[in-house]
Amino acid sequence: MRRSFSLTPRHTSRSLVAALGLVGLVGLCLTVAPVTNAKQRTAQRSLLAPVKGAKFVHAPFEMGACGACHERDDAKHPGKVQNPGDELCYSCHEGMKGMMDGGRFKHAAAVDACTNCHNPHGSNQAKLLTAALPGLCTDCHEEIKEDLTKKVTHAAVTQGGACVNCHNPHATDVEKLLAGLPYDLCMGCHDTDDLKDPSGKPLQNIKKLVAESQHLHSPVEDKDCSACHQAHGSDNFRLLVEAYPAPFYAPFSEETYALCFGCHDASLATEKKTTTATRFRDGDRNLHYLHVNKRQRGRTCRACHEVHAAPQPFQIRDGVPFGSRGWVLKLHYEKSKTGGSCAKTCHAKKTYSYAASK
């Protein structure tokens, strides 16, 4: 028997609701779904029509040499590009081919096509870029876009050449397409006494400090500033990648020192007694624990250690700024064969030895 179905008022209302819901759902998808993603925008950009009145013009286009790249030397009907892809560009830009071939790490966008980033006719951006930096890069590198909106910003990213202050967007021998090792790049700016952070506070001249110091923190020795700093932007002070207490005193928790414990074992500050976690101990009495591991007034690492480099072993400071008036608290640290001593300001001279009996 053929089934028949007729719309009763009850059925009608249900069906209508369902239909309206479906329409609404489709409408919602159409409004919230991205119209284009970065790849599609790149594809659109790669149409790369000439820009009228462009500030920067590609020389062949400027001189009417359409045949340099197109089928015909006819400005009105140049035809297709002869050899789409980088080889056409390399026929003049030989140096770029050398750079691409010589670099261990290559930018996928550059390997694919120069026109992913450059307009071969003209542009209002220098180097014929299709868009201004950093927007051109963050169109694909969306996670970096997020970093740019964080609390602490980095002038190297927001000013001047932006991304290309540090990156070579073609090919390099350093990961992340860095133009050089992080330290070598950072010292391009952090080699002066005049630098200030976004709040106006003077920044240390790191190059000078390192030059004057015998004992370097391993990441500095290894030229790996990115071990501790997030160069794009961070919610932590001094662009640190993880939490680290800014003041002299801080309540202890492993989370508070997440930056340090990203590399160093937390046991150096969590174990009251140890013979392996640290050599800053008197016998097995862990002196890091004694100083740092307190509920309220734990001395932060910077109370004794210069984070980047210092003339003394273990980067022990000569003195540490204390309070807001610029007074320097001297440590008078002296190293011995099996330990050392500190004489103070905080306490009378105290000596320790990791070889002492327990």
Partner: protein, 276 residues
Amino acid sequence: MRHTSSPLRVILSAWLLLGVSLASAQSRSALGATVKPRTLPTLGGGKAALLQGDKGDLVAFLPPASHRNGPGALVELARCQKRLARKPLRWVGVVSGREEAPPIQAALSKAGLKLPVLVDEGDRLFAELSGRVRPTVFFVDSKHVLRAVVPFHKVNFCVLIEAHARFLLGEIDEAELQRALHPVVKRPTQAGSPATRMIKLGRMLLKAKKLDGAAKAARRAIDADPKLAAAHALLGSVLAAQGHCRKATAAFDRALALDAANAEAKDGKKGCRSHK
């Protein structure tokens, strides 16, 4: 910190201090020191030798599962292991005796890092090798000498490991090792010569008989590099094509002054003379 003690205790402490110091001096390895071969417990419950490789061992002290850099570092080590897969270097991992096996095993599996994992009870081996951070990779050669130490780097960790591995195996020399460890800064604008590009463009335009454009390109090449003979020679060729032989000859002469062997300038000058 110090307590008053009886004379006997002082003497005993002194002997102990001496003994510990001597022991520390002997067991405390540093670059160039010999690493004592030994057998250690494995994560899986057995035992294995620390040093076993015919050509050398890559001893990787692995990060605790909870370390911020842990997962990323393990992925990097796995990537490096793949790159060095055909090299005759034995990979061995070491974890602190404080770590629980299941999270470590899970982390290794997730990262795709395949290697025997030994357990360093009391972190003695780590202290002996003067380890400071984890992960750190120690390179020990076939004679059990500690040859290199590579602590974790966020950038170029695998580049460094690979360079040290290849150096240990004699595949690269000291100079190449240093180049890998200290790459030269390469800025994007350092590639190629604007003058050379202008010359190429100019020649293209000359061939297409777009002489005004060719002249413009030649002059730009000269502005970019006034001492480039080819740029002056190109200008000469363009001027000659435009029928300005006197100016062309002057350009050719400038080219020949910079490079007496410049063929374009020589031929161009001859050509102009014969047209007179």
